[in-house]
Every structure is written in structure tokens, then in C-alpha cells.
Amino acid sequence: MLTPSIERLVSELARLPGIGPRSAQRLAFHMMKAPPERARGLAEAMIDMTERLRPCSVCFSFAEAELCPICADPRRDASLLCAVEEPSAILPIERTHEYRGRYHVLGGALSPIDGVDPEDLRIAELVARLDDDGVTELVIATNPTMSGEATALYLADLVRGRVRVTRLASGLPVGADLEHADELTLGRALLGRRDL
């Protein structure tokens, strides 16, 4: 029923998170009716982003240059470092306006069942930054899941005595990702962070 090119677009769209086959079809039909510049603009934006993006050489968040915008910003407090599992957790923390330090993206959380050991996370890089950047407080903002908690505990034991280690206060929905927490709750959790 559909032509090969429509089918290709629909199946590509349907692979995106949160988009089922029916929504994919609706989007494809929408693009069909839109002027051709729209389709070109969208396609170019996607290619442009994927080609320009690379990990920040310091914190491993997204960057388009050597450094991400946060690491490149001299006004950020270098003595404060916040460890997160994924770059997607940075945005919700930024939105709270309660945090002025820098970040470090671990690239996941411990899970021996899935074969994820400390060596698979960017922990050595984190430890190196503590001295290099003159960090005085490490805020551990891994997800409030069991893997996130275990990662926090491992990190805290590893750097204890070298810097102050804090963890977000409880009250975040347990088992969820930080990106799903609302700003108010997350802001409170940041302000109320406690020593680990």
C-alpha cells in the first residue's frame, strides 16, 4: 500500500523512543504535505547534530568543541563536582538553578549482572579530576535505583578522606531516573544533600 520511500521513513521513525507505528505513519504523512524545505531542514539538523557532537574531553557530556559549554564556562565553581550516570541527568539539575559547580558523566552504573564493573565507568577519570581541578566536594547524583546507590557507595568509599562526599537527599522517586524528577523535588534534594 505504501511506497518504498514512505515505508522506509515510517520504519525509521518507528525506531525512535516513544513513537509507535501509528504515530510514525502520522509523522510521515505530515512531512509529505509540508514544503520540501521543511524535510531538508529536519534531515540536515539531525545529520548536523550527530556529526558535530562528541564527548567533552573533561566531563564526557555532549560537546561540539573540545569542551562542553559548562566546562568552558569560567564562572562555574571548579571546587564543586557532580557525578551523574548519563548526560541526560545534567539538564534537570541545571533547571533547578541550585547548582553552580561542574559535572562528570560516569557513563552508567555498576551492574555485575550486566557485566558492568567499576573499570567500565569513567571512575579513574573522575578520581584524576579531584586533584587536577582542586575539588573540595563531590556530589554524587547517580539515579535513585539500586545500581545507582551501589555506584554511589563504591565511589564514596573510593574517595573518602580526600574530598567531602555528598549524596542527594532522599525524597526523589525511588527506582526512577533523575531526568524524570521534577525541578522542585530535585532542587530540594540538591539543597538538602547529606554526607555519605
Binding site: 555498576l110 551492574s111 555485575p112 549482572i113 557485566g115 564493573d117 567499576p118 573499570e119 539500586m146 545500581s147 546507590e149 551501589a150 555506584t151 557507595l153 563504591y154 568509599d157
Partner: protein, 373 residues
């Protein structure tokens, strides 16, 4: 505080469940007898009622088995009264497409937020709860504790998750794939959650022991009925308060070398067992089939009493238990459940209730895939 209202199934409607094409059943609050020849579909009705409450079958983990042959999907609608009020609960299952849940017509995403721990079930193979492996007895005990205290299920599944992670890490360490440096990160949640699980089991068994002994005597199983938690490691949960968590953490740390060798966690609440006995006799191993059946029923009735006191009295589902009991015990059991909330009893014997002083509140006849009230 007034006691919570009993759980009561008011109406059960099934479509395409095993041999049932369609069936609708109105149920009164008391004792309901479901009679019909073997293979007529009595157990499938019990199974459907359990599905309507907890969303999983007590008979099989392969849900596709429950869908009537030739049908695309099964549906169960249950009108259930209980502490949260009266609600219409719907569950649909289609092989390959999974489960669909609704509450009062609205879709519900997760089983955990839909599930009503409203039933205690006795299937003929429930003897596993007495004579089976420790895991079967632990499971039977945990099911009661899950229904009695809202936090227990989370503590238990959290403990099991942390245990699985630690065991995976022990295997990786033994295989030389990982260092043991991150073991403590999994031992901390194991100690915290394990202490809560151990304490809840200890308190639960202490509360069940009295009712168990008196039900065992009432059902003709003799005096001296006793339940004890056989803890792993021995004696640990007797430690009070926060010291228990510390003791568990110390034990895990101490046993690391040996457990790396074994590539598994050798002791802890995941190895607990329940001692079930009468006098000095260990009914788990020494009891006759009949004694074990009586003990399993006494355990179930004790659980019902416990839940009534702690949460709400559950619906009791006794499938095909009468045929295995002698006439005296049969009458004792039916009298025991007579005024104890809603109880559904299935039997192939049309005269199953004849011995009762007063007739059951309803008798449902099942024949050729049809219901006769």
C-alpha cells in the same frame, strides 16, 4: 480503629480461560461450594479468580497455556470489595502481546499498582508448602507477609536483586573478570534489606504459630502444632534492632573469600526455612500425606487469621481438597471455614456439603462448560 472490611468477590466473568468459552458467576459473601465432575473446569474458575486479584496464575508461569485453545486472548472481569472499596478489575492476556490491566475501566500500567493481595489459595499441589524444598515453604510464608505488610514485598525483591548482583559479581571475581573492590557496595543493601526481611519473617512466624497450633488441633491434626523460623545463618535474626543489619554486613564481609570460591552467597535470609511440626515430629519430613495436608490447611487458616488482624481477611480458595480428607476432617474443615469470610470450595462430590449443620451460602454446579447456580 474498626477492622478493615473483608475481601469479597462479588462477580466473576471469564472469557476464553482454558475450557471456558464464557462464564459469569455471582458470589455471596460466605461459603460457596463449586461442584462438578473432574475436568469440568472448576479449577479454571479458581484460577480466573486469582488472576482477577493478583494478575498471575497459581498454576502456571506460562500464561499462554491459560488461553482457551483457538482463542486469541483471555479476559477476566472481577467485581471485588475490600479495604480500597468496591472496584471492577479487568485483566486480559494475549500470547505475544502481554497483559492488559484495567481498574474501573481505566488502563493500569504496572502489575504492582493493580494487584490486590486478596486471596489465599490451596491447590492440590499446595502440599509443597509443607513437604517441598525450603524455597516452597519460604515462598508460602512470604506471600502471607506480602499481604500483611505493604513494605515487605519491596524489601524482599530489593534483597533478592542485591543478592543477584552480588552473586554475579562473585562469579566474575572468581573468573578473574572483576575485582572484589565493589562487593561492599552490594553487601550494604543486602544487609539493610535482609535485616528487614529477617525481622518481618521472625515476627510473622511468631504471630502465625499460635493460630497454626489451634487450627491443627481443630482439624484433627493433634496437639503440639508448632512453627519455627530456621534462619540462615542460625540465630542471626534473634539479634535486635540495628545490630542485625550490622551483623549481616559483618557476616557478608567475613565470608567473602569463601563465597568467591563458591561463586555464590552461601547464607542469609534467602536460605531461611520454616520448621513445621507437631510435638517433636518434623511434619515436613516425617509426616504422612494426610498429616501434611492437615498441616497445610492449618497454615492457610492461620494465615487468614493473621491477615485479618494485620490487613484484611482474604478470600479462601480451596480447590479439590475435600476428596483427600476423611469424612470427619472434611466436616471439621467445612465448619472451620463456615463463618470465616468468603470461601470457595471445589469438589467433585455432589454431596460434599451434606455433613454441614447448615447449608452453604451458595452451591454452583459446573457441567459441560456451563454453570448452574
Amino acid at each position: 480503629m474498626p477492622p478493615a472490611p473483608d475481601w469479597v468477590a462479588r462477580r466473576l466473568a471469564v472469557a476464553d480461560v482454558r475450557c471456558w468459552d464464557r462464564a459469569e458467576l455471582d458470589l455471596p459473601a460466605g461459603l460457596v461450594l463449586i461442584v462438578g465432575p473432574n475436568g469440568a473446569g472448576k479449577t479454571s474458575l479458581v484460577e480466573a479468580l486469582v488472576l482477577g486479584c493478583v494478575g498471575v496464575s497459581p498454576r502456571t508461569a506460562r500464561e499462554a497455556e491459560i488461553v482457551r485453545r483457538g482463542a486469541e486472548a483471555l479476559h477476566v472481569t472481577l467485581d471485588l470489595d475490600g479495604p480500597p472499596g468496591a472496584h471492577r478489575r479487568e485483566i486480559g492476556f494475549a500470547p505475544g502481546r502481554g497483559r492488559r490491566l484495567r481498574l474501573d475501566g481505566d488502563p493500569v500500567r504496572t502489575l504492582a499498582s493493580w494487584r490486590a493481595r486478596a486471596v489465599l489459595v490451596f491447590l492440590p499441589d499446595e502440599l509443597r508448602a509443607v513437604k517441598g524444598p525450603p524455597a516452597a515453604r519460604r515462598r508460602a510464608l512470604d506471600r502471607v507477609l506480602e499481604a500483611a505488610a505493604p513494605g515487605f514485598a519491596e524489601d524482599l525483591s530489593g534483597y533478592q536483586h542485591a543478592l543477584a548482583q552480588r552473586n554475579a559479581l562473585l562469579r566474575r571475581v572468581r573468573a578473574g573478570l572483576a575485582s572484589e573492590a565493589s562487593l561492599p557496595a552490594w553487601e550494604a543493601p543486602m544487609a539493610e534489606l535482609g535485616a528487614r526481611v529477617a525481622r518481618a519473617r521472625r515476627e510473622g512466624v511468631a504471630a502465625l504459630a499460635g493460630p497454626f497450633a489451634s487450627w491443627l488441633a481443630d482439624l484433627g491434626g493433634g496437639r503440639g502444632g508448632a512453627l519455627r523460623l530456621e534462619t540462615s545463618p542460625q540465630g542471626l535474626p534473634e539479634i535486635a534492632g540495628d545490630a542485625l543489619e550490622e551483623a549481616l554486613a559483618e557476616m557478608l564481609a567475613e565470608r567473602r573469600p569463601r563465597e568467591i570460591q563458591a561463586a555464590q552467597t552461601l547464607s542469609g535470609p534467602h536460605r531461611d526455612d520454616l520448621w513445621i511440626g507437631a510435638g517433636d515430629a518434623d511434619l515436613r519430613r516425617e509426616g504422612s500425606q494426610g498429616e501434611q495436608r492437615t498441616a497445610a490447611l492449618a497454615l492457610l487458616l492461620a494465615a487468614r487469621d493473621h491477615l485479618r488482624a494485620r490487613a484484611a481477611r482474604p478470600i479462601l480458595l480451596l480447590d479439590d481438597v475435600l476428596s483427600e480428607l476423611d469424612p470427619v476432617r472434611r466436616r471439621l474443615l467445612l465448619e472451620a471455614v463456615r463463618d470465616g469470610g468468603q470461601t470457595l470450595v471445589t469438589s467433585a462430590d455432589p454431596g460434599a456439603a451434606d455433613a454441614l449443620a447448615a447449608p452453604p451460602d451458595a452451591v454452583v454446579r459446573v457441567e459441560d462448560g456451563r454453570l448452574h447456580a
